[in-house]
């Protein structure tokens, strides 16, 4: 895809990112590149480090409690080198974020419109009237019905889906280049979730926004993302276009995730394929591949050496010694992952 074009400055580039809280190495060497105008989904289960990776891009963790190593470039800035003032300018101005729970993003005692205009005026010199006009345009942009009236609502007066839209409007207030979304639809009903996902896609297309969405739901990821990165125990185990990851998975963990979905079951009521065991203790990482203890293809080498990230096709990267075997097993048919008697 981007291989033949002239290399451009990516919207976000993480290299060798490591984040630790005390002895717990939550993110353990993440390399990730998000091209401008692209949407990337970071998927993984709870404790995989996906949210921490996202938050590290905005340096949301206090330096005393966390240790960040590696480099983070976002919107052309070296994030770890920013001083306090530049950082607050950077947050919201260049890169902004939306969360799972919009009530946490808003102050309950001010109207939503006030908070958006306030945020615009903090970053730019602009009259109150112009700021309000822009807030109104934003509300129209995120398709809030009767936007004029809704600007004067307090956060609690809005329904869940509308609050989520209002939060997106707030995030877009200062025209950021990159939008980070942390489980933006997890708390919503399916009927509302799809609307928000479609909205994100529309914003990416119309505003040329670069988006990273963190989710545990593969389905939501496919709906929004051009590329998908699968995280496990603080490492990215597979990256590729949505098509590559969903249709042609090469990492046993990705295969396990796809196989364990209820809609993937062969017959109703037949047993689902599962990934046995549970994720490793991040404070005492075993050597080698963190997925090895749960992997159906585990070999001696996997327990000793962490496999390096290797491209198996343009844009499709996996970190697995036995990616080809895994892929063959996946393609072979419905029940290659039979580990019933582990």
């Amino acid at each position: 895809m981007t291989d033949t074009t002239i290399p451009t400055v990516p919207a976000v580039e993480l290299s060798g990112l490591r984040v630790a809280f005390g002895k717990t190495q939550v993110v353990d060497g993440v390399d990730l590149r998000l091209e401008r105008g692209q949407a990337l989904a970071l998927i993984g289960e709870s404790g995989s480090g996906k949210s921490v990776t996202l938050r590290a891009i905005l340096r949301l963790y206090a330096p005393g409690r966390s240790r960040i190593e590696g480099t983070i470039f976002a919107a052309g800035r070296d994030v770890l080198a920013l001083d306090k003032r530049a950082l607050s300018e950077f947050r919201g101005g260049d890169v902004s974020m939306i969360f799972q729970e919009p009530l946490l993003a808003f102050d309950p005692v001010y109207t939503v419109g006030n908070q958006i205009t306030e945020s615009i005026r903090r970053h730019e010199t602009i009259s109150a009237r112009d700021a309000r006009a822009r807030a109104l345009a934003l509300f129209e942009r995120v398709r809030i019905p009767s936007p004029e009236r809704r600007l004067d609502n307090y956060p609690h007066e809005m329904s869940g889906g509308m609050r989520q839209r209002a939060m997106i409007a707030l995030a877009l207030a200062c025209r950021p280049q990159v939008l980070l979304a942390d489980e933006p639809t997890t708390a919503l009903d399916a009927t509302v979730q799809i609307q928000v996902l479609l909205l994100l896609r529309e914003l990416q297309r119309d505003l040329g926004l670069s988006i990273i969405i963190v989710t545990h739901d593969l389905g939501a990821a496919v709906e929004v993302a051009d590329r998908i990165a699968v995280m496990y125990a603080g490492k990215i185990v597979e990256t590729g276009t949505a098509r590559q990851v969903v249709r042609d998975p090469h990492h046993p963990y990705t295969i396990g995730l796809l196989r364990s979905r209820a809609e993937g079951a062969m017959d109703k009521g037949s047993r689902l394929q599962t990934i046995p065991g549970s994720p490793p203790d991040l404070a005492n990482r075993p050597p080698g591949c963190p997925f090895a203890p749960r992997c159906f293809l585990v070999a001696d080498r996997c327990r000793k050496e962490m496999p390096p990230a290797a491209a198996i096709a343009p844009g499709h990267v996996i970190a697995c010694w036995r990616g080809e075997e895994a892929s063959a097993a996946y393609r072979a048919g419905p029940t290659p992952v039979a580990v019933e008697m582990a």
Partner: protein
């Protein structure tokens, strides 16, 4: 009816693939209080505060045997010696009695007056509050609105008014302080219990057919008593200060009994002559009450278990 589920009849076959854990070293559970203790020990502030409390309690208990001098025998010749005096290390009071000895013996009454009302109020207040919180409805409304009446008065004023009405003396002070603290503890107990009552595990216990009393005893009590206890320990400092205040006003302990509040009162006149000595009982009250507060803060933090 026979019980179909017994250990012997359980077939583990076919389910091992789903076994949710890779083998790991068996870690015996510490239990809830084990966790609390473990975390409390790692909190230096709480440990220091606890140590101070222990030392003061130890001194209070042992004071009759370890005081360097007789705390009651004064000497008109040696009045108001300054701190650092060769005989009276911490000086002497307005009647020439040794300050160290009096502070040591005074700890007895001061601690007693701090702890006893809170303990009694803890018993009465938590019973009322847990009952109101668990039963809810009209019982709650009646109990809690009655309790609210007490909140109309500032606690200092209430204590003074009650003590004034009952007359001076240790017993009456304890009664009035208990009346001050009971509503406060009851209110906390009620809100904690109401919170617990809405938890799913209480619903689950109801579904298993347990009676209200069983649920209260087995499921509710263990979860509410901790937070109420922590809140109560934070009241000990207030109680000490209020008791001292009552004594200071002449409504609590009567002279010549040594009690820090009373000592503060009688030394008041000497504040221009020998300010250091006059401030000593106040300092003692301050140190002990802040230690109780810090310790109760530590206890509260240690009891917060996260998922």
């Amino acid at each position: 009816m026979t019980m179909p589920i017994t250990a012997a009849s359980v077939a583990l076959d076919g389910n091992l693939a789903d076994a949710p854990d890779a083998p790991e070293a068996f870690v015996p559970s510490r239990g809830f209080w084990g966790h609390v203790g473990h975390r409390l020990v790692r909190d230096p502030v709480a440990m220091a505060a606890g140590a101070i409390i222990l030392i003061v309690v130890g001194i209070a208990i042992l004071s009759p045997w370890i005081t360097p001098m007789d705390p009651y025998r004064g000497s008109m010749l040696r009045r108001l010696k300054p701190v650092g005096d060769a005989t009276y290390w911490l000086g002497s009071d307005e009647l020439g009695r040794d300050m160290i000895s009096r502070l040591m013996v005074g700890a007895r009454l001061s601690l007693f007056m701090g702890v006893t009302p809170v303990l009694i109020a803890f018993g009465i207040g938590s019973s009322i509050g847990i009952l109101a919180g668990y039963v809810g409805g009209w019982t709650n409304t009646i109990l809690m609105r009655t309790i609210d009446v007490f909140f109309a008065f500032p606690s200092v004023l209430l204590a003074i008014a009650l003590s004034g009405a009952l007359g001076a003396g240790i017993f009456n002070s304890i009664v009035s302080l208990t009346c001050v603290f009971t509503p406060q503890i009851a209110r906390v107990a009620e809100s904690v219990t109401t919170g617990i009552r809405k938890r799913d595990y209480i619903d689950a216990a109801k579904l298993s057919g347990a009676s209200g009393l069983t649920i209260m005893r087995v499921q509710v009590l263990g979860n509410v008593i901790g937070p109420i206890f922590v809140y109560s320990t934070s009241l000990i400092s207030v109680s000490m200060i209020l008791a001292s205040g009552l004594s200071f006003l002449g409504l609590g302990v009567r002279p010549p009994e040594p009690e820090w509040g009373l000592m503060l009162n009688t030394l008041r006149t000497a504040i221009y002559v020998n300010p250091m000595v006059a401030a000593l009982p106040g300092l003692a009250i301050f140190v002990v009450s802040i230690s109780f507060n810090l310790f109760s803060d530590g206890l509260r933090n240690a009891m917060e278990i996260r998922q």
